[in-house]
Symmetry: C3
Subunit: 134 residues, 3 copies
């Protein structure tokens, strides 16, 4: 039985985007249908160009520990993890409404994004599976 994992990626800090990457990769590798719906602040990291590291204010001082630990443990970047999930069939969607609000056009989106969709369409596809709001 193929299960479904849907992720609404609202957050824009790197720790949460990395977490979405880990879960997508883990889900896709074990055979789940994975879909990521990137919205709001999450979109800032899914446009073309450099991906900036940003941590939540409360844990900013943990930045160096976090970075060193990632390097020491050979943890891949969130971008690489999502690319791996896509090799297993995962799809990445950008929220059409949030793109409109933030003035992001289709051609501004990073090629990792498969399509722009609305929230209602995404919720419909998520039916019958697990949905995480990150």
């Amino acid at each position: 039985m193929v299960s479904k994992l849907s992720i609404i990626l609202f957050s824009g800090t790197t720790d949460k985007i990395l977490s979405a990457g880990v879960l997508s990769q883990a889900g896709a590798a074990m055979g789940s249908e994975v879909r990521i719906f990137v919205t709001f602040w999450g979109l800032l990291s899914f446009t073309k160009g450099e991906k900036k590291m940003m941590l939540p204010k409360e844990f900013e001082q943990m930045g160096p520990v976090f970075m060193q630990g990632m390097a020491r443990e050979h943890v891949k970047s969130w971008y690489e993890m999502i690319m791996e999930a896509k090799e297993f069939g995962a799809k990445v969607y950008a929220c059409s409404m949030a793109c409109g609000v933030m003035g992001i056009k289709r051609e501004d989106l990073d090629p990792i994004v498969d399509d722009m969709v609305g929230a209602a369409a995404f919720l419909q596809q998520a039916e019958g599976g697990q949905t995480l709001y990150i």
Copy 2:
């Protein structure tokens, strides 16, 4: 088949409350049974009186872009979106324990709230559907 969408709205920043509004409205409009359980910081926007705009510290400087984009795209306020969801049958509940902790009485709640309930009762109603923690 009518599906269920349950939202635990814990966050108190306007971006997340707006996101809860979008998802509630989208879910309710496509025929899902929608229930919102407002708790903790979320409650600060569900009492009577003016709703203050508040963004997370990390993205505070994006406030003006956010507001202008909402106006340009004619995006409704979260309050209007939840009211629309309610016209389709959505219900808004306030967490009884969190109201107690924050000293919020029933008569302090905005009329958009249908009832006060406990976490266990809410979880029970959410069974068999999608539950998002926002």
Copy 3:
């Protein structure tokens, strides 16, 4: 029918950990199979030693109201709530990858943690239930 409630506890602020405690306790008390997967910043409160109170920057000034309200309403600490959930059979897991990144060894973990597991194993166990990302 026994239902399942799985919680991915990513956040490290006390308000969210408390919320995970409330939901775990409520779910376990009503007969659900409850599993908590502690990852990232959440892990900082699941190592041995003193648990520090930390609130999100946006609501820091609400700290005293929050603490007084908890005391007045006799709300238990999150640790006691999770211990109660465990008496009903709940399990607490630490994310093995995040422990590696943060340099946390098995012997550093608080005894409230039952085991270290990977994200894929946790997602597999969550199948067919509700999963909350906190």
